[in-house]
């Protein structure tokens, strides 16, 4: 499982941006739970990886922040900016190319479905 986590490491930002594109605004804990749900527990984003990634993307202008009072505390929601939407499309294309190339290496006779 640990070796698999290393493989996911480089695509963390792309995964976060894709989730935000699909779900509008999300908060940190919600992102970790969504990833766990989608991957049936195979991928586990730790707080130590997630929040620095979110803050970095916010500083780069890809994410915007919204505060809301929920259940007696303040919750910080993240959503994509206009630049973030463009960047997500660009990163998804890169990731798809990567997956296609890896698929060719791993199973040369198998054609990827996308």
């Amino acid at each position: 499982m640990k070796k698999q986590q290393q493989l996911y490491k480089g695509s963390l930002n792309t995964i976060i941006m894709k989730l935000l594109e699909q779900n509008g605004k999300m908060y940190g804990y919600e992102i970790t739970q969504k990833v766990k749900e989608i991957t049936a527990g195979e991928m586990n984003i730790t707080e130590g990886a997630l929040y620095p990634a979110l803050h970095k993307m916010e500083a780069e202008g890809f994410l915007d922040v919204e505060m809301d009072r929920v259940d007696g505390r303040i919750r910080k929601y993240y959503k994509l900016t206009e630049n973030g939407v463009k960047e997500t499309a660009s990163r998804m294309e890169e990731l798809e190319n990567f997956i296609r190339n890896m698929q060719t290496i791993v199973s040369p006779n198998l054609k990827p479905s996308f």
Binding site: Y29, E47, Y51, H55, A59, M67, D71, G72, R73, I74
Partner: protein, 149 residues
């Protein structure tokens, strides 16, 4: 489990005691910790609180160490937005041009009436652009929102 106001305050105080000084950093960590506590349905609040803090101690220690650098980088980013704003840079250049070309005899006399103009333009532009940047980036939300009822 649904947490009461007093329980939320207790968790917040525990984070303050842990060393989280800055509210804008602590807000997010508090929400995350509370979400984790809320999932511990088979434990009472005190047990859930201790369990979550134990599980998250490495993360909390790292965050406590980096909170200063996080806050400084946020403040620097805000200042960059002001000082690297093209309008602000234009007004600084305009001020220098006015100062250099005004028709008075001694450039060093600060109390000459016309000397106020090249000082007033950058000062006023800094104030207005600073306010605009601050409000437009929603930084005000962090200060204005009271997270404890």
């Amino acid at each position: 489990m649904k947490l009461t106001t007093e329980q939320i305050q207790q968790v917040d105080q525990k984070l303050i005691d842990f060393g989280f000084t800055f509210m804008d950093i602590r807000i997010e960590i508090l929400d995350h910790i509370l979400c984790l506590i809320e999932t511990k349905e088979n434990l009472d609040f005190k047990q859930a609180l201790d369990t979550v803090f134990e599980e998250q101690k490495d993360y909390l220690k790292t965050q406590k160490l980096t909170q200063w650098s996080n806050v400084i980088s946020q403040r620097v980013s805000l200042l960059k937005d002001i000082f690297l704003n093209p309008v602000f840079i234009f007004l600084w250049i305009l001020s220098y041009f006015i100062y250099d070309n005004l028709p008075y005899s001694n450039h060093n006399l600060l109390l000459e009436d016309l000397d106020v103009i090249p000082m007033a333009i950058p000062i006023l532009s800094f104030v207005f652009l600073g306010l605009y940047t601050f409000v437009s980036k929603k930084k005000l939300q962090v200060l204005m929102v009271r997270y404890l009822p």
